[in-house]
């Protein structure tokens, strides 16, 4: 019964989303309060049914109901309970349902937390979210139904892809999707404001906390994905520039640009058409990411579901959402006028350049992701785009971006004066250079300009970010949460840069073959293979090694237990690396192949400061959390009077 109930729940949800959209748009256009009154209950109702459908699918997984095709394809009676839950989003159909569920929860949150907004505006926002939900639910029901029965039911299931049987990856999709889908709220706010023709600072203030929360989830989601790739894929890389990774990174860059540009729009009423466009693009890029992954148009290991029919359907939805919004934009943005001005040396200019650089970075990555495809289609020959391209084009905008961040944090709005902060900036720059010299000496090796620049920028960014709250403390003024959030996030940028620079420049990697009792030396650490045995997991068999690591002084640092697993059902070998973590470095051992005669190949790695890269990313997310909980977002928004001078002229 669960599958049938789930199906019915989805159909009911679809009906309610249509009501949500129609009553919202028509009610707001006509000013019919009784129509608009339907929108909130419809939203909460559809969210309830979508969540119910999701829970029913989860219960089918927990009950090992292999008569449901999707469960049979992605689970197994031996699969541990935690992964049976994660298997719900382990493949295409379920991950689309997860997408819809998260959108439903965001919509529900908007419905419940928007009571202080003008009714017509809130109705339009929910109506736009309703249109998106309806499209996704239709997509699920027509092309990707997870509730289809399998007759006759198999005795046991096909098991979850072993790559996905991991705690970090179990959490990765829900968090990542919360970020992706959260940009739908900014998108809906932008569309509602454009429909209404009321693009004022209040719009930016309402949008800001939602955008920041979506962005912080996306940040955590991407970080988890990177961390997972590091220890699970078995070769110690943390970013592959795979199309699917790019698909999550592009909305992140657009979202980062958006939260900065929203600040300018809220505080100064500037960049309004630009901010709107970014709000549209952040969500469009999220949708594009879904499309690229789902359509199979770009080959990638992550693309676990490719089906041309689904591709055409998603393309249609994308065209409807994105082109619809951009047409609205073409119509409305032309009516905006900016009255305020600013000087070159001001926070506005820094944020403008920040936006330009972030958009350049996102565009270059988009270009690299789509270029091979476009050229092949235009029969202009083929070209390869690999990590070397992305690494290069990403560094070009990022170096000036971090430099701007160091200075820009100290610039005031409208017209800043250099003199009061000059001394501070000079000492920060000096400290950065000195720290870079010291770090280069510590890690040794031949000096490289790019590494030196990276180190100096990283330290300067951290110091510059720290100096902001310290300055408030020294002057005994309370620090607003927005400012604190900014400095924590920017400190994170510095920490990330430090980790990424040092880990890439100074890592040591060796692939060795070791027999029992033999050892190899990596970066002053001695790795000795002391034991090998067979172990049994719940749904896999593994060979596990003991690798004793001693430091230069002969002290035992740790004993690592890397595994080579073979999952029984899918017979896929998996590497489970052994990692020793400390604040200075990671020591990483992955077990390779049995070379015969008791000799195994092992990959040994020394990764200095690599943890700081993920810690830095989490700092950015924490900064977002602090900023999003700023008190001024919680004051009654209804009392805000709209600045008439910034209201768009009605055409």
């Amino acid at each position: 019964m669960t599958a049938e109930l789930g199906q019915i729940a989805l159909i009911l949800a679809l009906c309610l989303t249509i009501a949500q959209a129609v009553f919202g748009l028509v009610g707001a256009a006509r000013g019919w309060d009784n129509w608009m009154a339907v929108v909130r209950p419809a939203t909460v109702g559809q969210a309830g049914f979508v969540v119910l459908a999701f829970l029913l699918l989860a219960s089918a997984f927990l009950a090992n109901d292999f008569s449901v095709q999707y469960v049979a394809m992605n689970s197994n009676s031996q699969l541990p309970t935690l992964y049976r839950v994660a298997a719900v989003w382990g493949a295409h159909e379920g991950s689309m349902l997860l997408w819809a569920t998260i959108l439903a929860l965001w919509s529900c949150a908007v419905a419940l937390l928007s009571r202080s907004l003008p009714l017509a505006f809130a109705s339009r926002v929910l109506a736009v979210l309703g249109i998106i939900s309806a499209g996704i639910l239709l997509f699920i029901l027509l092309t990707s139904n997870p509730f289809i029965r399998l007759v006759p039911a198999p005795f046991d299931g096909n098991d979850l892809n072993p790559l996905l049987q991991d705690p970090a990856l179990a959490m990765h999709p829900p968090i990542l999707y919360t970020g992706y889908v959260g940009f739908a709220v900014a998108f809906a706010f932008a569309c509602a404001a454009m429909i209404e023709g009321r693009l004022d600072q209040a719009w930016a203030r309402w949008t800001r906390p939602w955008t920041t929360v979506a962005w912080l989830f996306l940040t955590i989601g991407i970080t988890l994905g990177s961390w997972w790739a590091y220890y699970e894929l078995g070769w110690g890389g943390w970013w592959m520039w795979d199309p699917v990774e790019n698909a999550s990174f592009m909305p992140w860059l657009a979202g980062t640009a958006l939260i900065h540009s929203l600040a300018v729009t809220e505080k100064r009423g500037l960049f309004r058409s630009w901010t709107l466009l970014l709000a549209l693009f952040a969500f469009s890029l999220s949708l594009l990411g879904t499309f690229l992954v789902r359509s199979g148009i770009i080959v990638s290991v992550h693309a676990f579901a490719s089906d041309p029919l689904r591709g055409v359907f998603i393309l249609g939805l994308l065209a409807l959402f994105i082109l619809g919004a951009l047409t609205l934009y073409a119509w409305r943005a032309g009516q905006l006028r900016s009255s305020a001005g600013f000087e070159l040396w001001s926070r506005e200019s820094f944020l403008l350049f920040n936006n330009i650089l972030l958009v350049i970075a996102a565009s270059l990555i988009l270009l690299g992701t789509l270029y091979p495809l476009l050229l092949a289609l235009m029969k202009l020959g083929t070209i390869s785009v690999g990590p070397p391209y992305f690494q290069l084009v990403f560094l070009i905008p990022v170096i000036p971006l971090v430099t701007l961040l160091i200075v820009g944090m100290h610039a005031a709005w409208k017209r800043a004066r250099l003199a009061p902060v000059k001394r501070r900036l000079v000492s920060i720059a000096l400290a950065g250079v000195i720290a870079a010299v010291l770090l280069s000496l510590t890690f040794g090796g031949r000096p490289r300009t790019l590494v030196f620049v990276g180190l100096a920028l990283a330290v300067a960014a951290m110091l510059s970010a720290l100096s902001v709250p310290f300055d408030h403390l020294r002057r005994r003024v309370t620090i607003p949460r927005g400012v604190l959030g900014m400095s924590v996030a920017h400190f994170g940028v510095g920490l990330f840069t430090l980790g990424a620079t040092v880990a890439s420049a100074y890592q040591v990697e060796r692939d060795v073959s070791l027999g029992m009792g033999q050892s190899a030396n990596v970066a002053g650490y001695d790795f000795r293979l002391t034991d090998l045995r067979s172990v049994e997991g719940p749904n896999y068999a593994a060979r596990e090694a003991d690798v004793v690591i001693t430091d230069a002084g002969g002290r035992v640092v740790t004993v690592l237990h890397p595994q080579k697993r073979v999952y029984r059902v899918q017979q896929q070998p998996m590497t489970e690396a052994g990692i020793n973590v400390s604040w200075r470095r990671d020591l990483f051992v992955a077990l390779g192949e049995d070379l015969g005669n008791g000799v195994w190949s092992l990959r040994l790695q020394y990764k200095p400061l690599i943890r700081y890269l993920w810690l830095g990313s989490l700092c950015m997310a924490l900064g977002g959390l602090i900023a999003a909980t700023d008190r001024r977002y919680r004051i009654a928004l209804a009392r805000e009077r709209v600045d008439t001078d910034t209201v768009a002229e009605r055409a």
Partner: protein, 179 residues
């Protein structure tokens, strides 16, 4: 309405046009990207081996019998995925498999083969990507089948599988296959 505000909508519309063409009009399947090379003489490979930069490797060494050319790199996730499949394929056939290590770090590539096993009869390096351009490689991994007469008779895009080997490669190895 000012024209410049239409630019984003137009740019996205053009992009979607491409996607549409890719999905529908072009009868496009990324697994089956048409290679203009099919039925034409295989481009020359002239490079050195990965193991020894002093040893030349040319496609002429393999002419006269069918052989397989596989483009890979340690930076490529799909290559990692197909690697065990190639090990299995190498076990069931004596058709030589020539690996082209594409734009890669040589020590990493040597280490990779040491760690994961080496299915290749020979591995050449393509540091500047010229061989890949000659062969019209669209993205790693890609695998080509060259006939005894030296013509490219099949191309496989994306991770190779034993199944694809049996289904698409083996039949073309028979005399008269691949026509």
């Amino acid at each position: 309405m000012k024209a410049r505000f239409l630019i984003p909508a137009l740019a996205v519309a053009v992009l979607f046009g491409f996607f549409w063409y890719a999905l529908k009009g072009g009868d496009y399947d990324p697994q089956l990207i048409d290679s203009p090379l099919i039925g034409r003489p295989a481009p020359d490979i002239s490079t050195v081996t990965l193991a020894d930069a002093g040893r030349p490797l040319t496609s002429k060494q393999f002419l006269g019998k069918p052989f397989v050319v596989n483009f890979w790199g340690t930076w490529c996730v799909g290559c990692r995925e197909e690697h065990p499949e190639f090990l299995a394929i190498a076990k069931e056939t004596d058709v030589p498999i020539v690996g082209i290590d594409w734009k890669d770090d040589h020590p990493a590539a040597v280490a990779w083969l040491g760690q994961l096993g080496n299915p290749y009869d020979a591995v050449g390096v393509d540091d500047d990507g010229k061989i890949a351009i000659d062969w019209g490689v669209y993205g790693a991994p890609e695998t080509f089948l060259v006939s005894a007469a030296g013509e490219v008779i099949h191309k496989h895009v994306g991770p190779m599988t034993v199944e694809a080997w049996r289904k698409d490669f083996v039949p073309r190895l028979a005399p008269g296959g691949g026509k």
